[in-house]
């Protein structure tokens, strides 16, 4: 989720080099109940907002997912798991799952290595590197809708820039297809995703790279390590925490992708670019099958939750102390 990203990123890069800080000296032993009461008071507004806008909707969605409900009138048609069995018999929805996986795999194998490559490049003493950094990061600042409208124009059949470029490059077979052909729409969407988000990952990697002490790299050079060896055996391991966070954000972002796709293709042509979030919106707000849409949202939520918990437990364990799944140990 974009809003939590800066905080997470900051926390990561601060201790990208795993140096454990000693406990603050002279810290008072167990807090008195007065302190706790004050903490509780200050938490109340945040907790209320969290309960009303996060927890309550989740509970309501789980609840309505067991009903056949059109959004109007009383919830009186309890159907048990029927919405869920219908969901997993729906070929389009299974396709949505497949497309989610497709985006995840491409993000991890293409987008992140590309972002890492750019970051390493822009970490060199390069003339005007600040300008390049800014340029590559700029798309991330644009809103999703603006990006989507922009690329709708670029991929416009006939008069769009993409068709023009394809013509210059001798790729006439691609002209007029892009978002309009079921077989090209997903790769096209992925290109837009990379354009939009790789700069963000590049920034994460850059921050990570800069916290690697140059002494270590120098020492490696003195020991006779070449550029590739220094990258492979020094930079990459020390960048581990940043990469793990980047992977996490990419996966969650791919699973929940909505606005870019909604504006560019609305899930089409013929469901060939539909994501889970699009299916949820279609059923909830176009077909008024709120019960079924709730079931989709619950599945979407469960996939994200299970992935997050496992990832935190088994991959991020070393990086995040005090996370829910770390079992209290350090």
């Amino acid at each position: 989720m974009p809003s939590s990203v800066p905080a997470l990123a900051k926390e990561r890069t601060e201790d990208a080099v795993p140096v454990r800080r000693p406990p603050a000296p002279g810290r008072p032993s167990p807090r008195g109940w007065r302190d706790w009461a004050a903490v509780a008071w200050f938490l109340v507004p945040a907790l209320v907002l969290f309960l009303v806008f996060v927890l309550a909707p989740i509970v309501v969605a789980v609840f309505t997912g067991f009903y056949k409900w059109g959004g109007i009138g009383p919830l009186d048609d309890f159907v048990g798991f029927a919405n869920y069995t219908r969901l997993f018999e729906d070929r389009v929805f299974l396709g949505d799952l497949g497309r989610g996986l497709y985006l995840i795999v491409l993000s991890l194998t293409v987008q992140l290595p590309f972002a890492l490559f750019t970051a390493v490049l822009l970490n060199q003493r390069l003339r005007g590197r600040a300008v390049y950094r800014m340029l590559f990061f700029a798309p991330y600042i644009l809103s999703e809708v603006v990006t989507a409208v922009l690329f709708t124009m670029i991929f416009l059949p006939g008069s769009g820039m993409a068709d023009h470029l394809a013509g210059l490059l001798g790729l006439e077979s691609l002209q007029g297809r892009w978002l309009a052909d079921p077989s090209t729409v997903m790769p096209t969407l992925f290109v837009v995703m990379v354009w939009k988000y790789f700069g963000f990952h590049m920034m994460l990697f850059l921050a990570g790279l800069q916290s690697i002490p140059s002494e270590i790299l120098e020492a490696a050079s003195l020991d006779g390590a070449g550029a590739w060896q220094r990258f492979r055996h020094v930079t990459l391991p020390l960048l581990g925490p940043t990469i793990r966070i980047s992977v996490f954000l990419s996966v969650i972002g791919s699973i929940q992708l909505f606005d870019l796709v909604w504006v560019m293709t609305a899930g089409g042509p013929n469901h060939s670019s539909e994501t889970m979030a699009i299916a949820m919106f279609q059923f909830g707000f176009k077909r008024y099958q709120v019960g079924y849409a709730s079931a989709i949202s619950v599945v979407l939520f469960m996939i994200s939750l299970v992935f997050s918990l496992f990832y935190q437990r088994y991959v991020l364990r070393r990086d995040l102390s005090g996370a829910v799944t770390s079992g209290g140990g350090r």
Binding site: W41, F42, P45, F155, G176, A180, D181, N270, Q282, R287
Partner: protein, 429 residues
């Protein structure tokens, strides 16, 4: 010191909490339903979708004229963009409370609201309904009762480029499906894209299937199918087969599957820029062409959807929809009086703005635009009317019609599979 600090903390926390709860209560309290106060003042809410011209300036003008003639009435207007209006009304409906006067398109959504007991039955109080054209009222009538008042009505038909038709050697607009397919062939042979279609948006595609079903199976069959929830009849399969005949000729512009309707490079722009010979679209077609592409002017013509040989439907049976207002159950009676003022006394104003078509009998003579005149005349002569299927049916069924027909056009579903999917959606809705 410590206790002073704590008390200041709790004071701050309390203040914050109070502010929060006050704003929450205020938010809950602002339900703004209309009513009469002790001093005879009446106020009511009016939700409309007039966010673009001409309605944007015309609607407030009309409500101001009404309130200045009736100083005891206050109208609280909320204007929302089409899609935003629909989501907001869905949310409001599920809370069981509707605004006093609200935009409606009739059909399946209105029926759901009526079934939930939220809409005022106007049948007995609407003593001026005889002044309205029967076609315009039809969408708001459910089982013989009237639940809404129309202010606009229109129909779908083929808008065509006379110049391109002439270039292909087509002398008269096709009157039958066979002639139509023949014309498509001639246009292709002349190097002209026969039809512009917004494949991305799906609803323009459903017009073809719906009209073919009307022409082959007939209007009663469509109504019958929606009550029996069975669309598998031979007429519906045949409608799909006829549509497939058209699709097999590859009549649409290149990359139509990704094309929007009013967006740059979309259906309306393709048509307006003279890059396709025709489009099947509602009465708003010419103004959107002008907006997204260019104005075809005198080159633009209109012909009704052709009949199908052996089908029971007639060329005078029309498919379309309009716009109207409905009242919340228990809305003040002044709200209905306002609607009478809006529809009857402002009919000339609405027509003069060139954005609406007449709902009052005989008012079509006041139209100046040639294309609007043709549509209005066809509506006057109409012998039957079918509301847009994606509005007439419950939303889940309407969307399935759009989706399945889009699949048929893309070659992903057979005519049988289309009727099976729609039937399945109707049975489970």
């Amino acid at each position: 010191m410590a206790s002073a600090l704590t008390s200041r903390r709790s004071f701050l926390a309390l203040t914050g909490l109070t502010a929060l709860s006050v704003s929450l209560t205020a938010a809950c309290g602002a339900d703004g339903s209309g009513g009469t106060s002790a001093d005879g003042k009446v106020s009511f809410d009016w939700w409309n979708i007039a966010t673009t011209e001409p309605g944007k300036s015309l609607f407030p003008e009309i409500s101001a004229a009404y309130t200045s003639a009736h100083p005891n009435v206050a109208i609280h207007t909320t204007s929302l963009e089409n899609e935003a209006f629909k989501s907001k009304l869905t949310a409001t409906t599920s809370s069981g409370k509707l605004p006093d006067v609200f935009q409606t398109w009739g059909g399946g959504v209105l029926r759901q609201q009526v079934d939930a007991g939220l809409v005022e039955d106007l049948t007995d109080v609407l003593d001026w309904s005889s002044e309205l054209t029967p076609v315009s009222l039809q969408a708001y009538q459910i089982e013989g009762r009237t639940y809404g008042v129309p202010y606009d009505i229109g129909m779908v038909g083929f808008w065509y480029n006379k110049k391109l038709f002439a270039r292909a050697g087509i002398t008269a607009p096709p009157a039958t499906w066979a002639e139509f397919l023949d014309a498509v062939g001639k246009l292709k042979a002349a190097g002209v894209t026969p039809i512009a279609l917004a494949g991305k948006e799906k609803w323009p595609g459903h017009y073809y299937w719906a009209y073919l079903a009307m022409r082959v199976a007939g209007l009663p069959a469509l109504q019958q199918a929606s009550t029996s929830k069975d669309f598998t009849g031979a007429g519906f399969v045949q409608a799909g087969a006829h549509l497939k005949e058209l699709v097999d000729l590859q009549p649409f512009q290149p990359s139509f599957l990704g094309a929007g309707y009013a967006t740059p490079g979309g259906q309306a722009a393709t048509m307006g820029n003279g890059k396709a010979a025709m489009e099947l679209m509602g009465q708003w077609g010419p103004s959107v062409q002008k907006d997204a592409g260019a104005d075809l002017g005198a080159d633009l013509g209109f012909f009704p959807f052709p009949t199908v040989d052996g089908g029971v439907g007639k060329a005078t049976e029309v498919f379309g929809g309009g716009g109207g207002f409905a009242l919340r159950k228990g809305a003040p009676k002044e709200a209905l009086d306002f609607l009478r003022f809006f529809v009857l006394e402002n009919q000339a104003k609405l027509l003069a703005s060139n954005g609406y078509l007449p709902v009052v009998k005989g008012a079509e003579s006041g139209l100046t635009d040639a294309n609007k005149k043709v549509v209005a005349d066809s509506l006057v002569k109409a012998t039957g009317f079918q509301l847009f299927l994606d509005q007439a049916y419950p939303p889940a069924v309407g969307q399935e019609v759009n989706d399945s027909v889009a699949d048929l056009i893309a070659g992903k579903k057979t005519p049988d599979q289309v009727t099976a999917s729609i039937t399945e959606a109707a049975k489970s809705a």
